[in-house]
């Protein structure tokens, strides 16, 4: 038995599977396995409408995961994205509502100011995180954990803990339910953000420097990279993406709330790690992060369809995340053995 297993040349399918695993990690395996599992358990799962639903739901997680990825690339991370989303939605909703209270017909103005205020929240929170990490060398874990508490506290204080209603209908239409060139609005914006970030990471100096800083910050600095500036940028990008996600979610739910976003912190890290982003920085591809976000949404969707209890779902999600990391470590160890001297 073991003899046969040890000969990769024996079975071309096994060999191919092994090659895929070594190059792409556990994600393709998980995706295929869960699709097969849910398809067997529930016939509605493979239904075109359901799968399209999954894609649409993926958008929110995909956006925050892209932001999280940028921080992870620089060997940091951002725990405050959930709070940033909450504060974004509260601030933006308040701005829109108060502009409309003054002049009920000024939809465009209200929405524009609301969006600016919302994105502004992301820039500010990101800058504070970035300054803490880059200038004062606060470990990203502590910095963003502190900000998690501060920012959600601000959101709760401003909103008094109650949802803010009365958002303009156009806003909900354009950013939540509507379609743009026949694509659901959230998906449209997600694709736009993905293209932009793909370009930044792969085709600009800034993106290259993110990878360099995460891989070896000292070496990056000695190579003339302005490490502080770029760390700051990384956290701002992450904050802005969290804000974008907060705005889209707000358009979808129709209210500004200080409670949205919290589960997305863990899920965004999970999406990145399952998508092959290293927790130690310097490694990761944005396409795979999107795929990771898709997988997690797919898993949630499938579990809902087979009516798994939501408490049990949490157990599954956490376990899958840990399993992904364990398998990845095994893979890296195996790859490490391929290196000579």
């Amino acid at each position: 038995m073991t003899d046969i297993a040890e000969k990769p040349a024996g079975n071309p399918i096994v060999a191919a599977a092994r090659a895929v695993f070594m190059n792409m990690g556990i994600l393709p395996v998980l995706l295929v396995a869960s699709v097969i599992f849910f398809a067997l358990m529930e016939e509605r799962f493979l239904d075109g409408r359901n799968l399209f639903n999954v894609v649409r739901q993926t958008t929110y997680l995909a956006i925050v995961s892209m932001g999280q990825m940028v921080c992870l690339l620089t060997a940091g991370f951002d725990l405050s994205i959930g709070s940033t989303m909450a504060l974004t939605s509260v601030v933006s909703a308040l701005v829109m509502v108060s502009v409309l209270a003054g002049s009920p017909e000024a939809f465009t103005l209200a929405i524009t100011l609301g969006l600016i205020a919302g994105i502004g929240v992301g820039v500010i929170v990101g800058s504070i995180n970035g300054i803490g990490v880059a200038v004062f060398n606060v470990p990203p874990f502590m910095m963003t954990l502190g900000m998690l508490s501060v920012v959600v506290g601000v959101a709760l204080t401003i909103s008094g803990g109650v949802p803010i209603y009365g958002l303009p209908k156009v806003f909900k239409e354009v950013f939540g339910y509507g379609r743009i060139i026949d694509i659901p609005a959230p998906l449209f914006y997600t694709v736009g953000l993905f293209v932009a970030l793909f370009f930044i990471l792969n085709w600009t100096k800034m993106g290259r420097y993110f990878y360099a800083i995460g891989s070896n910050r000292r070496a990056a600095r000695l190579s003339g990279v302005k490490t502080r500036k770029h760390l700051l940028f990384a956290y701002i990008i992450c904050g802005v993406l969290a804000s974008c996600c907060g705005l889209l979610l707000m358009a979808r739910t129709g209210t500004g709330e200080s409670t949205i976003g919290q589960p997305l912190v863990l899920q965004s890290v999970a999406a990145c790690v399952i998508g092959g982003v290293s927790l130690f920085g310097g490694i990761g591809r944005i396409e795979n992060v999107i795929l990771g976000a898709f997988f997690i949404t797919l898993l949630t969707n499938g579990m809902n369809l087979i009516r798994m209890e939501s408490y049990v779902q949490q157990i599954v999600l956490g376990s899958v995340l840990i399993l992904a990391i364990v398998v990845d470590q095994v893979r890296l160890r195996y790859m490490g053995q391929l290196r000579v001297d």
């Binding site: 100096k205 990878y211 000292r218 070496a219 600095r221 000695l222 190579s223 310097g282 490694i283 000579v340």
Partner: protein, 533 residues
């Protein structure tokens, strides 16, 4: 744990004299035959034989990637071989783990230390082998034993000191003390001198002699050819994972050794550099760093010459280079570049000016180990218009330029998308150097450019230095390898205790002169006394 009688010093004659006797002490202590190891598809060791006798210092010699590390990893129990047999005292054994190897009398001191930096020396010595009474640590007995070992080895390290506060040499001693705890019969030393000062090296060699006399056999790995004849009895040469030959250390010349290692005749080891010093490009005036490790240093470097900064490890020569590049805060003094006093000293501005600095520790400060070679080579020059336009990368140009640079530095294998980590030390160093030649350099500062690099790669680095000087670049060579300084420099500053102690030019650059300037450390007390008198 009973020691065999062969280990005692009572009967040195029996062991030393009977080299031709068929039995007894002459019999191999350790016999390795036909050992093989594959990593994935790569044959790291190909049926290698190795024999170690009691009380000998047996040097393993070979280029990076020749299989030395794999072999000692196998002997230390860290790696399991695929084929072959190992016998200890004529009995076949299998070494299951590092712990198991230690139990059977083999201990290793690896180049990369296995010390817990936040623990003390004694805690480290007993790490994993703590003495207890019941479940409580027996700290008293451990402290006593730790001090005893350290004293027996003649080391000067306080048992209570935290390891992170020790110098690299002291850490090395701690590591050796830890290995000696189990009274090994075989001690493996992997490049033990690479971070030691001259004096510490001598101390280590004395220790080796003492151990040897008590019957301990030592497997010694080094890249320094000169060291081999100093400590070695026999040498086994490996190349490309194969056993090449075992030769006598005393009767084999350095040239023969190197030729065995690289498998072809060697040209001149150091290139002949002819200097045409031009205008002063870098001038340092009364430079003092904030941490006080450089004090009132003044020196200048001209275009087209190589200026050596020599001195013992830790003398401050390294910090001079770092201060110029802007990574060591300056308290007073100035740095002039191309006749202009520099106001702003930081790496990115300096690189843009044409002042490059190659750090001594490529893994820590030089390379992005898990990024592709291409990204490593281009990292310091992405701001050039050939590489990017308005912050957008020209990836096609990047690919071509980096490939050409790596080719020029003879990086092998030339796989630009492979991670830097996958290369041998010598090739990593070449990747590191390629990184800087994308720019036009006016001044090039290199700190220990051949550390942990095999002989073949060394000659290539030397050729590179010569080419720089020929192009008219002002080269500062900071090095602890005396031969490098002697053979490549046009002028030499000897740094001692943070200050310039001596300056030599042309014919004055001799081993004797330099060593005299170095050696002043030991007689400093005398100097002071003489002044007082």
């Amino acid at each position: 744990m009973s020691e065999s009688s062969g280990l005692s010093t009572d009967d040195p004659t029996g062991a030393a004299a009977s080299t031709h006797a068929a039995s007894g002490a002459d019999e191999a202590l350790l016999q390795v035959s036909g050992i093989g190891k594959n990593y994935g598809g790569v044959r790291a060791l190909d049926f290698v034989d190795f024999e170690l006798r009691r009380g000998e210092v047996h040097v393993l010699f070979g280029e990076n990637g020749a299989g030395k590390s794999t072999l000692i990893n196998i002997l230390a129990g860290a790696v399991r071989p695929d084929q072959g047999a190992i016998s200890l005292n004529g009995r076949q054994v299998s070494l299951e783990s590092v712990h198991d190897a230690r139990r059977q009398g083999i201990a290793a001191v690896f180049q990369e230390f296995s010390l817990a930096a936040e623990l003390t020396v004694e805690q480290n010595i007993f790490l994993g082998a703590e003495r207890t009474t019941g479940i409580v640590l027996d700290k008293r007995s451990m402290r006593k034993a730790a001090i005893e070992i350290v004293n027996r080895l003649g080391f000067d390290i306080p048992a209570k000191a935290q390891v992170s506060t020790l110098s690299r040499a002291q850490q090395q001693m701690t590591e050796i003390a830890k290995a000696m705890l189990t009274d090994p019969k075989i001690l493996i030393l992997d490049e033990p001198t690479s971070s030691l000062t001259e004096r510490e090296v001598n101390q280590l060699f004395e220790l080796i002699t003492t151990l040897q006399r008590s019957g301990v056999a030592i497997i010694y790995i080094t890249h320094r050819v000169a060291e081999i004849q100093q400590v070695g009895d026999r040498i086994t040469v490996l190349r490309d994972g194969r056993y090449i030959d075992t030769v006598d250390a005393k009767s084999t010349s350095q040239q023969q050794l190197v030729e065995l290692m690289i498998g072809r005749p060697l040209g001149d080891f150091f290139p002949e550099v002819s200097f045409n010093p031009g205008e002063v490009r870098l001038a340092i005036k009364d430079l003092t760093t904030r941490d006080g490790r450089v004090r009132d240093v003044s020196l200048d470097v001209r275009g087209g010459e190589i200026v050596g900064l020599a001195g013992l490890v830790g003398c401050g020569k390294s910090e001079i280079g770092r201060a110029c590049f802007g990574i060591e805060p300056i308290a007073s003094g100035s740095v002039e570049f191309m006749g202009e006093r520099l106001r702003r000293l930081d790496p990115s501005t300096n690189l843009a000016r044409g002042l490059s600095y190659v750090p001594p520790d490529r893994r820590r400060e030089g390379l992005l180990l898990d990024r592709p070679t291409r990204e490593n080579v281009s990292l310091a020059s992405l701001d050039l218009s050939t590489m990017s336009m308005n912050s957008v990368l020209r990836r096609g140009a990047e690919r071509d330029v980096t490939r050409e640079l790596a080719e020029r530095m003879r990086v092998t294998p030339l796989a630009m998308e492979k991670e830097a980590n996958t290369y041998s030390g010598g090739n990593q160093q070449k990747i590191l150097l390629s990184k800087y030649i994308a720019r036009e350099n006016k001044v090039f500062i290199l700190d220990e450019p051949t550390v942990g690099v095999d002989v073949a790669a060394k000659t290539e680095v030397y050729e590179f230095l010569k080419a720089l000087a020929d192009e008219g670049v002002a080269v500062v060579l900071i090095s602890s390898e005396l031969p490098e300084i002697l053979n490549l420099s046009n002028r030499v500053y000897v740094i001692h205790n943070g200050s310039v102690r001596a300056h030599f030019e042309g014919d004055q650059i001799t081993e004797e002169n330099l060593l005299n300037a170095f050696f002043a450390e030991g007689v400093e007390g005398l100097n002071v006394a003489a002044k007082n008198a």
